[in-house]
């Protein structure tokens, strides 16, 4: 290794640069895995969702309502009835900002007197949900409350908060259950807290800052989502059976009806792209390490044929030669790891990741990334050296030393 010191230094530098980048990449992967939390108090299988819209009054197909008893809400009721009569539909419901995988955020603060202090649930995403929508999404409480119980609480106009993923520790929602909460610090706007539900996130990767479920407002047009639960295995049949006329009643119509799976894919598109880009980059770096070690050690084997042949002639076994070649690569890796570790420790000492990224980042994430990056490098080094080392194993000492 001393003879090849220049080449070894360059390979070490390459390992350090690659190792640090792989550390970042694998740490991001580990963090995304940690963040990935599908909403487990809900069931989105066999659910189709769409936007509920009103035909503008200026549109040529707008129909005037005959009297004040008829309005957009009555149209929605008729539309829901029509949908529920579809043979493939189990239930249908409406909401305002009630669905996941949309990027609406309508936040509000809620406060509760807890003993001697007032706890405030800051900036909770307010999701207005009808009891029927509760049944479509099969909402459950974290303490085992059933869907029907939750639907009943919503019908009773109770507030159902969800535990945030990231809080300062001063909020204890368990103390909220059964108490009255003020809406936006207004003591005249009081809601009773029911059960604690699971979080309904905007994406499966977003740490929840806060969310509450409340009942729908009765005002006409105060909704924007519709969700339909179809019978298991009947999704395709439902899609094929639906005609444009089935999606409209009066001045209300459904737009962009699609499965919840499609919505989820679209919501996660940027994350998927990020994962794809990072995977490509990491693969490129690992391929570069592999090719670099393959090329360098191939040459070294050729240059060291007389030395290796002498070792064989002096009694070294094939596997000893093989292990010798591999160990040179591992020594390079260990040298690189020490430098990588130094940089990582320096970085972590200076930067608080949770504060920087405004998200709960457990302390094991960077170390998981480190372990994965070193493992990947080790794999590439062993893979790259394998062929030259196998070639070294097969040297015939008599032939190799013939000209010596």
């Amino acid at each position: 290794m001393r003879n090849e010191w220049r080449s070894n230094i360059w390979m070490c530098i390459e390992l350090v640069v690659t190792g640090l980048i792989l550390w970042v990449v694998f740490s991001i992967f580990a963090f995304l895995s940690y963040l990935h939390k599908p909403s487990d108090c809900y069931d989105f299988n066999n659910v189709y969702a769409g936007d509920l819209r009103i035909i503008p009054k200026t549109a040529s197909s707008y129909t005037e309502y005959p009297d004040s008893l008829h309005n957009e809400n009555t149209d929605v009721e008729m539309l829901l009835t029509k949908l529920r009569n579809n043979q493939y539909v189990e239930c249908a419901g409406i909401g305002l900002n009630a669905l996941p995988y949309t990027f609406n955020y309508s936040g509000n603060d809620f406060s509760v007197n807890v003993g001697d202090s007032v706890q405030t649930y800051h900036s909770a995403n307010v999701r207005c949900i009808s009891p029927e929508m509760v049944r479509v999404l099969r909402v459950r409480g974290i303490h085992g409350e059933t869907t029907e119980e939750i639907a009943g609480m919503i019908a009773d106009n109770k507030l159902l908060p969800a535990q945030p993923d990231y809080s300062d520790g001063r909020l204890d929602l368990e103390l909220w259950r059964g108490r009255d909460a003020w809406w936006s610090y207004d003591s005249t706007r009081v809601v009773h807290v029911g059960a604690i539900v699971g979080p309904l996130r905007r994406t499966d990767y977003e740490p929840l800052r806060g969310m509450v479920l409340v009942n729908m407002d009765n005002r006409p047009g105060w909704w924007d989502n519709i969700a339909i639960r179809v019978r298991p295995g009947k999704g395709r049949a439902f899609s094929e059976s639906i005609k444009p006329s089935d999606l409209q009643f009066g001045n209300v119509y459904i737009s962009n009806l699609e499965s919840m799976d499609n919505r989820r894919e679209r919501a996660h598109e940027s994350i998927t792209r990020l994962i794809g880009t990072l995977t490509m980059g990491a693969s490129f770096l690992m391929a570069a390490v592999f090719l670099g070690f393959l090329g360098s050690f191939w040459f070294r084997t050729q240059q060291r044929v007389p030395e290796l042949a002498l070792r064989r002639a002096n009694g070294a076994t094939r596997s000893q030669l093989f292990r010798r070649m591999l160990s040179e690569g591992i020594i390079l890796l260990i040298s690189g790891v020490i430098v990588i570790l130094f940089f990582i420790v320096m970085f972590l000492c200076k930067v608080n990741l949770s504060e920087t990224f405004h998200a709960p980042i457990p302390s094991w994430i960077p170390w998981a990334g480190f372990a994965c990056s070193i493992s990947a490098l080790a794999l590439m080094i062993i893979g790259g050296i394998w062929m030259p080392a196998s070639k070294a194993m097969k040297i015939n000492p008599a032939e190799a030393l013939k000209e010596e």
Partner: protein, 419 residues
């Protein structure tokens, strides 16, 4: 050159593994570099119907505050957009249009009801962007001001609405409004984010979804600056209008905050961070540069190491050449030249792979969450091909300079005697 190619072929025959490792390593690096370059280029280079992107400016948002810190920011109302951008000097054409295409339901004479990208715009839109009119006509200023229920549709949309029948003069339901087709234009790529649409309708100049005291709405301005006019002179005019607007708003107890509008194509492609922030993409640029440096440096280290090893095998022959009078400079040039040919070969493979990847792989280019594929003409242009050659050249210099210099410095006697 012939000798260099002979040397390369000899090396490939005697050391095929190393030769292929070199070519593959180079190809991989150039492939990734070109993918990054292509993604960047498609955001700024001109292609139909945005054929004059180098002369374009975009006015997008307005940010109005009250002294107590409350206020709002968002897209402009039509009145606000006219106030800030109409009748500027040095402007060839201006389009007031919706800030993005809406996905709306449309239904024609076929059984299909589908959502289409609908662009609301004024008559200036057709002067700013060069859509190819296939049939019929485009809407006029009078029709825009009258709020006529007319539409120009793209060729593929016309086919979906009416089948093989002639679309001109036919009616369809656009967002539940009975609308007449007056023109058909050629399909355009969604990568032309300002010009793209499947249906084009006159913008509603009267209401335009106004809010916030009539200052906000859903209008943006696309400005085509006259050839030869400095973009900064147009921006200075807009800045002055912002200052005049600020004086008027002061009387209402409000303040308008200037965030650098209108923006060039480059700034728009880099990303506008919301309606209440001034674009500053220096961090993104630094990351892009860092990515390119890494994509060049890491394979360069490998290639340098392998070249160094290859040159050690040729040490005798280099010593003989030096003994016969070959200069150090000549040896360096020859080695770099040989390496450049190999790098170029790998680079061409990498460029080809990059183009195929961009053309066929989903997710390289996305607009509004949908995967979009560019055309071949967008990818094979001077900027991209020049970037590929430049990348090969830089990679060659980085990987070959030091080994070539070291080989040239060797004492000829030691070189000839070396084993």
């Amino acid at each position: 050159m012939k000798k260099q190619i002979k040397q390369i072929l000899y090396d490939m025959r005697t050391q095929p593994l190393i030769a292929w490792v070199t070519v593959i390593g180079t190809a991989l690096s150039i492939f990734l570099i070109m993918t990054v370059v292509m993604i960047e280029s498609v955001g700024v280079m001109s292609f139909s119907p945005e054929s004059n992107r180098e002369r374009m400016l975009y006015g997008m948002y307005v940010h109005i505050n009250k002294p107590n810190g409350s206020g709002g920011s968002g897209s402009m109302s039509y009145k606000c957009a006219e106030r800030l951008y109409a009748n500027l000097k040095g402007v060839e054409a201006i389009s007031f249009q919706s800030d993005g295409a809406e996905r709306l339901d449309i239904h024609g004479t076929t059984d299909e009801t589908f959502t289409a990208s609908v662009r609301s715009c004024d008559q200036g839109f057709w002067e700013v962007f060069d859509h190819k009119l296939l049939e019929g006509r485009l809407f006029s200023k009078e029709e825009v001001e009258a709020g006529s229920k007319l539409a120009v549709v793209s060729r593929s949309t016309a086919r979906r609405l009416f089948g093989p029948e002639n679309a001109i003069g036919r009616h369809f339901m656009l967002d539940h409004n009975d609308t007449e087709v007056i023109g058909v234009v050629e399909d355009s790529s969604p990568l032309a984010e300002w010009a793209y649409g499947e249906v084009f309708r006159p913008i509603d100049v009267i209401s335009s979804n106004e809010w916030g005291g009539g200052y906000f709405g859903n209008i943006a301005a696309a400005i085509l600056v006259e050839d030869g006019t400095d973009l900064e002179s147009v921006r200075d005019q807009v800045k002055n209008r912002y200052a005049e607007f600020a004086s008027e708003l002061k009387a209402e107890g409000r303040d308008i905050i200037y965030h650098g509008a209108p923006f060039t194509q480059q700034v728009y492609a880099d990303g506008i961070p919301g309606s209440n922030n001034t674009p500053d993409n220096s961090a993104d640029r630094a990351i892009n540069v860092a990515v390119l440096v890494i994509l060049l440096l890491v394979p360069a280290i490998n290639l340098s190491s392998m070249l160094h090893s290859r040159l050690r095998r040729r040490i005798n022959d280099l010593g003989v050449r030096r003994a016969f009078g070959c200069t150090r400079g000549r040896i360096v040039r020859d080695i770099i030249g040989e390496n450049f040919i190999v790098t170029l070969a790998g680079g061409l493979i990498g460029l080809g792979a990059g183009v195929l990847f961009a053309l066929f792989y989903d997710g390289v280019f996305t607009v509004g969450g949908e995967s979009v594929h560019p055309s071949l003409s967008m990818l094979l242009n001077f900027r991209i091909i020049f970037s590929a050659f430049a990348a090969c050249f830089i990679l060659n210099i980085i990987s070959a300079a030091i080994p070539a210099w070291q080989a040239a410095r060797m004492n000829p006697v030691n070189a000839i005697n070396a084993k």
